[in-house]
C-alpha cells in the first residue's frame, strides 16, 4: 500500500524511523525478531548511555513507548520478514508469523551483533570467569555492585582492553568500532563511582573519543576518576596461581614486556555486522559491503539508500555507529521513505 513504510528492526534507528514516518502522517508496520522492542541497548542491558548519561531503560524506553502508543504503527514482535516481493512503491512482505504486509518503502534498521569474544580465545573469555565483555560489565553496573564473578570479591584492579574484535585482521575485523573508546572511558567512571577502591586501567593503541566525547569522557575519566591509560595492546590473558588474572603486553612507551595482575579483565567488544546479514541480503535483495555490513548507495544524493530502490537503511546496519547518530539516521531514512510515498501520491493524483 502506498501509505505504509515497513520498518525492520526496533532498535534506536528503527524506532526513530518509525516515529518520523507516522509524524509525517503515514503508517508504519514494524517487524522485530525479538520479543521486546529497543534493540541492543535494551536487549543487552546497557547502563547509562553516552553521551546523555541517561539510563538506557529510560531513554530508549521513551522511544519504545512512543512507537507502541502510536496508533499508526503496527508492531510484529517475534517475527522476521521471510520474503519480499514487488518493487519500490509496491512491496509485499511475508512475515514468519504468517502475516502479509504491503508497503511502499522499506527501512532496514537491522543493526549489528556484538563481537563474540570467544573468537579471541587468547584473551581468556570463556576460559576465566573474571574475563567479561563491556556488555556484561554494563549489566554489572546496572546491578549496582562491582565484584568478581568467580568469588564475589571486590576487585582491586580492573583492566579494560580496547579493540577487542576491532582493528584485527587475524579474525577478519578490519574496522574500528567507533564507540568502544568512549564507552570504556565511561564505564571506567561508572566502576569507580560504584566501587571507589577499584583502580581502572585502560589498555589502548590510540584513543578515539572524537568530537565532544573528548573532555566529557576521556579527560573526565582520567582527571576526575583517575583512570590510568596504558599504551599497550594486550596479547594474552591467563590466570596466575593465586587466581588473579595476568595481562600480558608490551608497554610501548617503556618498551618492555609487561605481565600485570588484575582481578577483572573487560573486553571492549566491537560491533560485528548483524549475524543475520547474509539472510537479510538474500531476502531483501540488498548488497553487503566487503566487511558484511549493508552496502550504502551513493551517499550524496541518495542518502540512506541501499543497492535496491525503495529500500533504505540506517544506523549500525551500515557500519559501527553511535546510538545518537543511529537515531538521526533513522529519522533521515524515515524521511526518505516518506518522500517515496509522497511521490506515489502525487503520481496517482
Amino acid at each position: 500500500m502506498g501509505d505504509t513504510v515497513l520498518v525492520v528492526g526496533a532498535g534506536p534507528a528503527g524506532l526513530s524511523a518509525a516515529a518520523n514516518v507516522t509524524a509525517a502522517g503515514y503508517k508504519v508496520v514494524m517487524v522485530e525478531k525479538e520479543e521486546v522492542l529497543g534493540g541492543a541497548p535494551i536487549l543487552s542491558g546497557y547502563a547509562r548511555l553516552v553521551p546523555s548519561g541517561e539510563w538506557a531503560k529510560d531513554a530508549i524506553g521513551r522511544m519504545v513507548s512512543r512507537v507502541e502508543e502510536d496508533a499508526n504503527c503496527t508492531v510484529h514482535k517475534n517475527a522476521k520478514v521471510t520474503q519480499l516481493d514487488g518493487e519500490a512503491g509496491n512491496f509485499t512482505a511475508t512475515l514468519s508469523n504468517g502475516e502479509t504486509v504491503k508497503a511502499g518503502a522499506v527501512v532496514l534498521a537491522t543493526g549489528f551483533t556484538h563481537f563474540d569474544s570467544i573468537n579471541k580465545p587468547e584473551w581468556g573469555f570463556g576460559t576465566y570467569e573474571d574475563v567479561l565483555t563491556t556488555t556484561q560489565m554494563e549489566q554489572m553496573v546496572s546491578s549496582g555492585k562491582i565484584i568478581c564473578p568467580s568469588d564475589g570479591r571486590v576487585p582491586e584492579r580492573v583492566a579494560i582492553l580496547l579493540c577487542v574484535g576491532s582493528r584485527d585482521r587475524q579474525i577478519g575485523r578490519e574496522w574500528c568500532s567507533k564507540i568502544c573508546c568512549t564507552v570504556s572511558a565511561n564505564l571506567a567512571m561508572e566502576i569507580k563511582e560504584i566501587s571507589p577502591g577499584t583502580d581502572v586501567f585502560i589498555y589502548y593503541m590510540d584513543i578515539r573519543t572524537y568530537g565532544l566525547y573528548e573532555d566529557k569522557f576521556y579527560w573526565k575519566s582520567q582527571e576526575e576518576f583517575k583512570t590510568k591509560f596504558v599504551k599497550a595492546r594486550i596479547a594474552e590473558v591467563t590466570a596466575s596461581g593465586d587466581g588473579r588474572l595476568l595481562v600480558k603486553g608490551e608497554d610501548t612507551l617503556v618498551k618492555r614486556p609487561i605481565v600485570i595482575p588484575f582481578d577483572i579483565v573487560v573486553h571492549a567488544i566491537g560491533m560485528d555486522p548483524n549475524e543475520d546479514n547474509p539472510e537479510i541480503s538474500r531476502i531483501f535483495g540488498v548488497g553487503l559491503e566487503k566487511h558484511g555490513f549493508i552496502e550504502r548507495a551513493e551517499h550524496y544524493t541518495n542518502t540512506c539508500g541501499t543497492t535496491r530502490r525503495g529500500i533504505y537503511s540506517c544506523g549500525a546496519a551500515y557500519a559501527p555507529e553511535t546510538i545518537d547518530d543511529s537515531i538521526s539516521q533513522g529519522a533521515a531514512a524515515g524521511a526518505r521513505a516518506v518522500a517515496d510515498l509522497h511521490a506515489l501520491v502525487r503520481k496517482a493524483g
Binding site: 586501567f201 583517575k226 608497554d251 617503556v254 614486556p257 609487561i258 605481565v259 600485570i260
Partner: protein
C-alpha cells in the same frame, strides 16, 4: 660460550658464579650464567599520589602523553635522554625502577617552564620534575642537590634570625658543598662589588656577617615557622 647479544642485556641482570661445582660438575662462569628477565610485573598504584604531594606534582595525573613538554624542552635539545613525558608516564604507573635509572639527569631541569607553557592539559611538567627530584632526595636515591643545600642554608638563616645575609649564605653554601671560597671568579666578583658600593654599606655587610643580627622582636617566630613547615610536610607525605 659467550652471549652473542650481550649488549642487549643490562649487566646487572646477568647472574653468574665465576667458580661453581654442582653435583660434582664444574659449571663455572658461562656454564651457569643465567639472565634475569626485564619484564615489568606490577605497578605501584600509590606512587602517583605520592608525587602529587610534592609541590608541583599535583597535576601529573592529567598527562595524556602528547609529548609537547619533551618537544619544547630546553634540556632535551641538548640531551635526548632528558624526557619529561616519559618520566611522567612512569610516575603515573609507579614504575619506580625505571625512574631511578635516570636519577642522574632528572635534576638537570633548568626551570625554563616552556613545557608548562605549552602543555595542553596543564600538567605543569616543570613542577613534576621538581617534585620528582625532591622525592629522590627524600628517598636517598640521589644526594642533596646543590640547589637543595642552598635552600636549606637560606631557610636555616630565616629560622634563626628572620633575615638572610647574602655573604653568609654564600660562605656556608660553599663550605657545605665542599667548594673553596677562594675562587677566581668570586674574587673578581667581590672586588668589583666593593668598588661600586658606598663604604658604609660595605662595613655594615661585614659587621652583619660577623654578628648576624636578628629581625627585631623575632623571638620564637623562627621555631614556630619551622614547626609549621615540618607539620605541613608531614601532612602532605604522611
Amino acid at each position: 660460550m659467550a652471549i652473542h647479544e650481550k649488549s642487549l642485556i643490562e649487566p646487572e641482570r646477568l647472574l653468574k658464579h665465576d667458580s661453581l661445582v654442582v653435583d660434582g660438575v664444574d659449571v663455572s662462569g658461562h656454564w651457569n650464567t643465567m639472565i634475569a628477565p626485564r619484564t615489568i610485573t606490577d605497578y605501584d598504584d600509590d606512587f602517583e599520589a605520592k608525587i602529587q604531594k610534592y609541590g608541583g606534582g599535583e597535576n601529573v595525573h592529567r598527562c595524556w602523553q602528547c609529548g609537547s613538554c619533551t618537544n619544547s624542552c630546553t634540556v632535551y635539545a641538548q640531551n635526548v635522554q632528558f624526557n619529561p613525558r616519559y618520566w611522567i608516564y612512569l610516575i603515573r604507573l609507579g614504575l619506580k625502577e625505571e625512574i631511578v635509572k635516570d636519577k642522574d639527569i632528572i635534576w638537570q631541569c633548568v626551570s625554563c617552564n616552556k613545557c608548562t607553557d605549552i602543555c595542553p592539559k596543564d600538567v605543569r611538567p616543570e613542577g613534576v620534575m621538581k617534585a620528582l627530584s625532591h622525592w629522590m632526595e627524600d628517598e636517598g636515591i640521589t644526594g642533596k642537590s646543590p640547589s637543595k643545600i642552598f635552600d636549606e642554608e637560606f631557610l636555616d638563616q630565616i629560622y634563626k634570625t628572620g633575615r638572610i645575609e647574602d655573604g653568609k649564605v654564600v660562605q656556608n653554601f660553599f663550605k657545605k658543598t665542599g667548594q673553596s671560597l677562594f675562587q677566581d671568579w668570586l674574587r673578581v666578583f667581590m672586588l668589583r662589588m666593593m668598588k661600586g658600593l658606598p663604604i658604609m654599606h660595605l662595613m655594615r655587610m661585614g659587621w652583619n656577617t660577623v654578628h648576624t643580627p636578628r629581625t627585631r622582636s623575632w623571638g620564637r617566630t623562627g621555631e614556630v615557622l619551622k614547626a609549621y613547615v615540618q607539620e605541613q610536610k608531614e601532612a602532605r607525605h604522611g
